[in-house]
Symmetry: C2
Subunit: 340 residues, 2 copies
């Protein structure tokens, strides 16, 4: 279980990511989840645990499984089912990361070489498939059709969101509505499902399931907005993710949409050259950031993130005060604040 | 429903594949399954049905869903659940094909350009993920945890088999045991699951579930053995698949294992150059076939396929005679015979 210990250590080291309130709340549960993750990613086919541990031990923040743990706690759950289901949520997330790295040809994730850069595309796709299947095996062992419905729906929506993101990439005519549709699907759907599962294991009324789903969905949108803003921020380097990845990939995120809408013709020509023609020159990223600042694109996107964060927090109004509620409220605030 | 009609027509056209006994038995059910497939591969994200229909309409034999339909019939099932579950089986198979084409960088499948050659690797991976998720959504709608267990287990085993196949590729020291492990996982597991599901919906005793699983597993091994033999056969061109694909990819199939074991040093040098160093020259495929024939490698692999086919057929001994049993017995014989 050396790997599980290493994972625990790295999770503690990720304090600067803004997740302290959550990780403090669920420390013991999260260690149990890390042990389950390591146990269930084993296979007689040696390359599978090798590759899976590369990405799983790479210092992931475990945000999504922590949401399942904290939501279950918020609902007063005292059993152990939330541990296995939190591991499922992380397996689904890891599978999408593996497939995302393949499709984006990314070179870095969390400051480390991506699995596909080390082993090639082939094993990354297949180990992603393995982890995804393993998630469903774990859900079947848990035995709740409601959980299976929530997470299979989320998985289908995530895939739709990823395809939609591909279709809008390099297209400067793609608008804010398309961007919101992408992030609600590729990011918010799993946040929402992770939270809702916490209420399901606690056998709470439908209204509480729905409130937690709303919380997760709005938090997911706020989280992705901030992530997309940070891709144009000097702070980003400190978070271990390369600055300017989205810009180089031609992803149409909200800061780009806003800057393009407000641009004059010369600026639009710049955006088209960089994002559509993928013709990149020295100083382009700095120029992009300058245009964004000129038109308040980053500040307005941050405003949007704050609004979604506030809506997420209000979704918890009906729950009793206590450490779980406070941690969930705080983590939203801290995550939005990481952009400062 | 124009697509469903086109699919039905192509399925009828695939008579030469040796599946006539099965397709004659389940004609009406299969048309209903094709309609369900088309209905459930829809998505507001236009590229998903576009790409999915490309691969699904590409004249797939629908062998695996037909096994579910025929097994249900064999078990006396008279409801409609087998239709949706047969569609699930085909979705899982299609997802693995999409991912398999990506990882193998194949140029042709069933004589048509692969989805990844038309759209690139990215959408193929993601649409595969979508179809896989959709399969689980359909299973959840069906509501049987037994079915979910059988098909999630099969999915994990398939991914393990595909990774193992990668690990043994280009390695002439890889042996018969490793080859059997690969094909039992990557092919036989889904055949076995497809058959077992037919007994599950009919609520038959465990012994019948297990008998159908054994039938599917042995049939799957026989089927894959024949497929691997045909890759070195002149007949292959008529089946719409390029001859010599496995040879060029360096896959270590049974004909290769047997020919290499029985080879002298000069022949071994040839196999190492072609399969390990991937140094291919004009006439290599013909030379490989000549060496295989010299050492009875193809004939002995066929003998093995016939043995597995016979074991499959014997697994049905306990079932009452009738058209369903006869079709299943015949399809095994016809599939093994396609190599002549």
């Amino acid at each position: 279980m050396a790997l599980a210990a290493e994972i625990d250590k790295q999770a503690k080291g990720s304090a600067k990511s803004g997740l302290e309130p959550l990780s403090a709340l669920v420390t013991d549960d999260l260690q149990a989840v890390n042990r389950l993750i390591v146990e269930h990613m084993q296979s007689p086919v040696a390359l599978i645990p090798q590759l899976a541990s590369h990405i799983i031990a790479a210092g992931g923040k475990r945000l999504r499984p922590m949401l399942t743990l904290a939501s279950a706690r918020l609902c007063g759950y005292e059993g152990e089912r939330h541990l296995g289901l939190a591991a499922c949520v992380e397996f689904i997330h890891t599978a999408t990361l593996l497939h995302d790295d393949v499709v984006d040809a990314s070179d870095l994730r969390r400051g480390l070489a991506t699995a596909n850069a080390v082993w090639g595309n082939k094993p990354s796709v297949l180990v992603g498939d393995f982890l995804f299947s393993r998630a469903f095996q774990l859900m079947v062992a848990d035995g709740s059709l409601d959980v299976l419905r929530i997470l299979s729906n989320a998985s289908a929506v995530i895939a739709e969101g990823e395809v939609l993101q591909l279709m809008t990439a390099n297209d400067t005519t793609s608008d804010e509505a398309a961007y919101m549709q992408v992030i609600e699907a590729k990011t918010a759907a799993l946040f929402a499902a992770a939270c809702r599962v916490g209420a399901v294991v606690a056998e709470r009324p439908a209204a509480e399931e729905e409130a937690l789903e709303r919380f997760g969905s709005c938090f997911g949108v706020a989280f992705q907005l901030v992530d997309d803003i940070l891709d144009y921020s000097a702070l980003q380097g400190e978070l271990g993710k390369a600055v300017g990845d989205d810009f180089r990939d031609g992803k149409i995120t909200l800061p780009v949409v806003l800057a393009f809408q407000r641009a004059d013709e010369a600026e639009r020509a710049f955006w088209r050259r960089c994002l559509e023609e993928q013709d990149h020159r020295d100083g382009d990223l700095e120029q992009a950031i300058e245009y964004m600042q000129r038109h308040d694109a980053l500040a307005d996107a941050m405003g949007r993130a704050r609004d979604y964060g506030e809506t997420a927090r209000r979704a918890l109004d009906g729950f009793a005060d206590g450490p779980a509620k406070q941690a969930l409220l705080d983590v939203v605030e801290f995550c939005v604040d990481r952009a400062y």
